[in-house]
């Protein structure tokens, strides 16, 4: 059980936002592990499930803002996939393993930190 | 002794039939009351066959009761619950017990009823069913075997004059007419012009077939909206819904009866149809009020 939060970050939005958060010294939990992806739409169901199999306590999928995806539909597809993943996890009654999708732009480091904090709070509340 | 329906269709200027809906259960006393009340006020009592795909007392059983109590039964047969063997067998039985009138119809889908998981049959469709009754009338079964004692049914069918789009419906009506029917009872109609357009179409193909306009009284705006949404083939226009909505509380049934009677009068006065078929489901005891208001008693 590694208890990490795995964040799939779109290189057009969330990844630079995370960089900016670092440059502004906006701190967030150390347990975050960022995996850089070319688009939130590249994140597949199996990536999320395997992250949990590996012991992650939560998964974040972070993509561009609504209507402003670099690849037009990538962020909306990612949102659907996250929804689907939650359904798959619920099906197998694996509780308290949150998967969430957030939309942000590259110049919103606070939003990035907020997303990480929000998921951390959910994990804490579920007692994992 | 009642007059056979076939004769009535030939002789009477304005034919009136009413629907007797079978009960859910084996207690038929209420149905017998309705039969007694209506049998002499109408020309035929028409019995539905697991209407709206809700399982009930059989159509055939109620028809027997009507016969026993001196009425003229009209047996509805749908294609949903029986394959060609069962339908033929039922028809032989019906005829042997003096039930000589049959309405051939498709039947609602099981999805709208109370046994949604049932396997629906539809071995035949309504046009094929009409052909089947003619085959039986000719003394043979569908497989071509001779019958030991034939049948002679008076055949009717149904149609939806307010369908949208109408043309495909009319093509089907045309097929039914070509297969040969003595009468058509329409689905409930609320727009006189729709009915008129429909009868003109039918008359162009078959001058002799009798058309009975379907009358279903609507007793509240809520019921109208429900029927529009849930009863296949029914389209109640907004002006009637508004009229019902404006009726004072507690007068809904009276209003419904008034609207129905108005329609019947118009149908009769303008000689658009050869009669009406009244379906006041669950309120059969109030059918005489409609007849009275329409001047048919």
């Amino acid at each position: 059980m590694n208890g990490c939060i795995v964040a799939f970050c779109c290189e057009h939005s969330a990844y630079p936002a995370a960089d900016l958060a670092g440059r502004l010294r906006l701190h967030y939990p150390e347990s975050l592990r960022v995996i850089r992806v070319p688009c939130a739409g590249r994140v597949d169901v199996i990536h999320i499930l395997k992250a949990f199999e590996n012991g992650a306590s939560a998964v974040l999928v972070l993509g561009c803002e609504d209507g402003a995806c670099h690849h037009i539909t990538g962020n909306t597809r990612a949102k659907e996939r996250v929804k689907y993943c939650n359904m798959l996890l619920k099906e197998v009654e694996v509780d308290g393993r949150p998967v969430a999708m957030f939309n942000l732009s590259p110049n919103t480091p606070h939003k990035f930190v907020r997303a990480v904090n929000e998921i951390t709070k959910i994990i804490k509340e579920s007692g994992r | 002794m009642t007059t056979p329906f076939r004769e009535i269709l030939k002789r009477k200027d304005f034919v009136v039939t009413a629907e007797a809906a079978p009960v859910k259960g084996s207690s038929v006393s209420k149905t017998v009351e309705h039969i007694t009340l209506l049998k002499d006020k109408v020309d035929g009592l028409n019995v539905t066959d697991n209407q709206s795909s809700v399982m009930r007392y059989p159509s055939l059983g109620i028809c027997l009761l009507i016969k026993e109590h001196g009425g003229e039964p009209v047996l509805q047969v749908t294609c949903r619950d029986r394959n060609r063997l069962a339908i033929q067998a039922d028809l032989l039985f019906a005829y042997s017990r003096g039930i000589n009138n049959v309405v051939c119809l498709t039947g609602d889908s099981v999805d709208v009823g109370d046994h949604k998981e049932a396997k629906q049959v539809f071995d035949l469709d309504s046009v094929q069913l009409i052909h089947l009754v003619h085959t039986l009338n000719s003394g043979k079964d569908m497989a071509g075997n001779e019958l030991d004692g034939g049948v002679d049914f008076c055949i009717g069918t149904t149609a939806t004059p307010s369908a949208d789009p109408l043309e495909p419906q009319l093509i089907k009506v045309e097929k039914k007419l070509k297969a040969g029917v003595s009468f058509i009872q329409t689905q409930a109609v609320y727009e006189f012009d729709e009915l008129k357009r429909f009868t003109e179409f039918v008359r162009n193909i078959d001058e002799k077939v009798k058309i009975l306009a379907g009358i279903v009284p609507v007793i509240s705006a809520k019921m109208a909206a429900y029927m529009n949404d849930n009863v296949p083939g029914i389209f109640i226009p907004q002006h009637l819904i508004d009229e019902l909505a404006q009726a004072p509380k507690g007068t809904g049934i009276a209003k419904g009866i008034e609207i129905a009677a108005r329609m019947i009068r118009q149908v009769k006065e303008e000689e658009v149809c050869d009669g009406v078929h009244i379906m006041f489901i669950g309120r059969e005891e109030r059918v005489p009020e409609i007849l009275e208001a329409a001047g048919l008693l």
Partner: protein, 219 residues
């Protein structure tokens, strides 16, 4: 193409309960195309099973494999070694694939993970619709190439029922088109409405003698 649907997870989980090591077997043909039983779904289902069992503290080992067509014995034979390793097989193929697997590996319990639903085609991305009832007596030539046997909720052969909704939608589902309205429109466009006016006699439901068995000409 054969269309299927994943079974409820609860059912799959119960079926797998007695086993510690199973093979999740996909099929690379129809069920891959309809997003139900290809390599991707095999991966997801296996992962779901492992997660479920590890949450129960009762780990399960899953092998994964997808063959090109599970309805072909020769192709399923490839799985021999993997099947030998496991206690049971969870197949994501259609009913034909599951049975081929069962016949080939008689001593192993084989479980279907999907429900085979119909023969259909994609209407758009991710939406499959029924197109053919495999009635063995095709009469699409008489209906403008639209099959009323399966596309009409009642399988009517001589025109629409009286329940058609406004705008030509089906009595039982406003999302679906009335097949006979579609047939009407198609034939009208082709100027062949006379075809719709012709009587279609009752169907020969023995056109395929069930269970179906067809011997092609030996060449």
């Amino acid at each position: 193409m054969i269309i299927a649907e994943r079974k409820p997870m609860e059912e799959i989980k119960q079926a797998m309960a007695p086993y510690k090591k199973v093979l999740v077997a996909g099929c690379g043909t129809c069920v891959t195309v309809c997003w139900v039983g290809g390599e991707k779904e095999v991966e997801i289902l296996a992962s779901q099973l492992r997660l479920a069992r590890s949450a129960e503290g009762n780990e399960i080992v899953t092998l994964e494999a997808t063959v090109e067509r599970q309805c072909e014995k020769e192709m399923v034979t490839e799985l021999k070694d993997k099947v030998a390793e496991v206690e049971a097989v969870l197949s994501l193929a259609c009913g034909a694939g599951v049975q081929t697997m069962a016949e080939l590996f008689e001593d192993k319990p084989i479980f279907p993970a999907v429900n085979t639903t119909f023969i259909g085609m994609p209407e758009k991305e991710g939406l499959w619709v029924e197109m053919c009832g495999a009635c063995g007596d095709c009469f699409l030539d008489r209906t403008g190439g639209i099959c009323p046997i399966v596309r009409c909720a009642k399988g009517l052969l001589n025109g629409p029922c009286g329940g058609t909704r406004k705008g030509g939608k089906c009595e039982i589902d406003p999302e679906k088109d009335c097949a006979w309205v579609l047939i009407y429109r198609r034939l009208e466009k082709q100027g062949r409405l006379d075809l719709m006016r012709e009587y279609n006699p009752p169907k020969n439901f023995r056109a395929v003698k069930r269970p179906g068995r067809i011997q092609a000409v030996k060449i």
